[in-house]
């Protein structure tokens, strides 16, 4: 059968064509295709190689809930920070030393226990200790409202630009989030009278914005719900102690982060409609170290 079709094709190619009998159109350029104009588009072949939603990763509800814990933790730590500021607790020397020790331990746990890191920590602590009397009187002449507005905006920026990923990739805006958090801490710390309080505020801010997020990345998946529970319960407890009205926003944010927004996301991702085709840029696959090692071994 195929030989016959081939013979017929050859015959039709050699004979003068009528407009009805044409060779089958193919999307190639290395063969002359008489009878078709240059801008001809075949109805069957048009966008045949278009594929929709290739390599689509559908997130399940529990996936979204798990990843929703991280913003919830960040939000509750911000609320704890604000509540502790407004509660105006007197920080004793021993509490300050304990907090500093915890921060230093956390820092060394993240960055390694070498002498260079210890020197960096000592330098940082010395600078903080030296700058704290200056920070104490920095914003005495600026009104309350300005300071609280600035601190709120900075912590909002911190919340929005924070690195919530669980992979070890690089995320350029995480510097801005840490810096915004520290700036907000300085703003709030300059309102306080006692030098211990000032130091305590800044060390606490370094702890929750600088030390805890990297540690969070290294904790295992199974312990994460427990961490979230601890954060939210501390926030609720402090709110209950000082400002009970804050309990409602905390509960709303818990609902939103863990239930409402994941549900919304799962619903919306059904409408994903990505188009792929041969016109896309080539994507190089990373072979990884093992592959290259094999090549060089031979």
């Amino acid at each position: 059968m195929s030989i016959i079709t081939l013979v017929i094709l050859v015959n039709t190619n050699t004979i003068q064509m009528s407009p009805r009998e044409r060779i089958k159109f193919e999307k190639v350029l290395y063969r002359p295709q008489e009878g078709y104009p240059d801008n001809y588009t075949d109805n069957e072949l048009f966008l045949k190689s278009l594929s929709k939603n290739k390599n689509l990763h559908t997130y399940s509800f529990w996936d979204c809930t798990y990843h929703g814990q991280f913003p919830l933790q960040q939000l509750s730590s911000t609320i704890v920070f604000f509540l502790l500021h407004f509660m105006e607790i007197t920080v004793s020397d021993s509490m300050l030393y304990l907090m500093a020790l915890v921060t230093v331990m956390g820092y060394l746990a993240i960055f390694g226990y070498s002498l260079h890191e210890i020197r960096t920590v000592v330098l940082l602590g010395g600078f903080l200790f030296g700058l704290s009397p200056i920070i104490q009187t920095l914003t005495k002449t600026i009104s309350d409202d300005t300071i609280y507005a600035m601190a709120s905006i900075c912590l909002l920026i911190n919340f929005c630009l924070h690195d919530y990923s669980t992979l070890n990739g690089d995320y350029m805006s995480k510097c801005v989030s840490l810096n915004a958090g520290i700036f907000a801490a300085v703003c709030l710390a300059s309102r306080l009278d006692d030098l211990n309080n000032v130091l305590g505020t800044i060390v606490f801010a370094i702890l929750i914005y600088g030390i805890l997020p990297p540690l969070r990345k290294r904790t295992s998946k199974h312990i994460m719900p427990l961490c979230t529970f601890v954060f939210v319960s501390v926030a609720l407890y402090l709110a209950h102690l000082h400002a009970p009205i804050v309990i409602y926003p905390i509960l709303v944010s818990v609902l939103a982060c863990l239930i409402i927004v994941p549900l919304l996301f799962v619903q919306i991702q059904k409408q994903k409609d990505n188009i792929f085709g041969p016109w896309d840029e080539a994507v190089l696959k990373d072979l990884g170290c093992e592959a290259t090692r094999d090549i060089t071994a031979e």
Binding site: I110, T120, L123, L138, T139, I142
Partner: protein
């Protein structure tokens, strides 16, 4: 003697004026052969010729009518100073005016310390700067009292320069005013350095807060991977300097305004000199 190398090295130091620099480059670096062909009234040594030409370019000769005006004004001033003016009283008044200027600076600094124009300044920084500038004013007053003994001598010495011309006297007066009011320029220099250092630090640390850094190789701003401790320390210092910025800015504005006033009076004297030198009196009388 090859003076081209000398010209290359020294032209930058000698010529503050771009116009004069252009004249140099045109005449000396390209047209040296033409100069050698021309006859010169001075000795045939190239260095002396070079200096003579330099003088002719930097200080062009005045027209004769202007010279006459210059010398007549100078002689009038000379006779005034030596025969008709009570120099001791004049010098006392001069010193008194300078002391009034010093006390004006003192009141300005006190005013800056107490809520100036409703602006929010950091009181600790203001107190520190106040201490610093007050001590400098104290030095200024001591300096003036030291000069006040020798003031008549200085005036008589400067008046000798009236004889070559009034413009000569005015230029010496200009130098003398710079010496007398040196401390105001010092204040401006302190405030200026502090302000520019703080601005540079704020901009550089502001780039650190945003997670970028200036790349001097490519002369552009690039993203950079900074470690956590650098970020924390940088943000602490940045916030401190940012909140201290209005105070420094105000001090800079005030002292640069005072310095501008002094410079304006000096510019008036310079304008006077240039008017006498370039006024086309000869053409009017023709």
């Amino acid at each position: 003697l090859e003076c081209k190398e000398l010209l290359h090295c020294g032209s930058v130091f000698v010529c503050q004026n771009e116009h004069v620099l252009r004249i140099f480059k045109k005449r000396y670096l390209n047209g040296d052969e033409e100069e050698k062909k021309n006859e010169t009234s001075e000795s045939s040594e190239p260095s002396a010729r070079f200096i003579g030409q330099l003088q002719k370019d930097l200080f062009p000769k005045m027209a004769p009518a202007n010279k006459v005006l210059d010398i007549t004004l100078g002689l009038i001033l000379f006779t005034l100073i030596w025969f008709y003016v009570d120099i001791h009283r004049f010098s006392e008044e001069l010193i008194e005016q300078a002391l009034r200027l010093a006390s004006f600076l003192d009141t300005t600094i006190t005013w800056l310390g107490e809520d100036p124009a409703g602006l929010k300044l950091n009181s600790q920084l203001v107190q520190f700067l106040e201490l610093f500038f007050r001590y400098h004013i104290h030095l200024f007053k001591g300096y003036l009292s030291l000069i006040s003994e020798y003031m008549p001598v200085i005036i008589y010495t400067i008046s000798v320069t009236c004889v070559p011309g009034f413009t000569c006297f005015l230029s010496y007066l200009l130098s003398f005013s710079v010496i007398l009011l040196l401390h105001i320029h010092c204040f401006y220099a302190y405030a200026c350095n502090l302000y520019s250092a703080q601005v540079k630090a704020i901009l550089s640390l502001g780039r650190l807060v945003a997670g970028v850094k200036y790349n001097p190789l490519r002369e552009r701003v690039d993203s950079v991977r900074t470690t956590g401790d650098q970020l924390i320390l940088g943000t602490l210092i940045f916030s401190t300097l940012l909140f201290l910025f209005p105070t420094t800015l105000l001090y800079y504005c005030v002292f640069s305004a005072v310095n501008m006033a002094v410079v304006a009076t000096q510019m008036c004297i310079v304008t006077g000199i240039s008017i006498i030198r370039t006024c086309p009196i000869g053409d009017i009388t023709k």
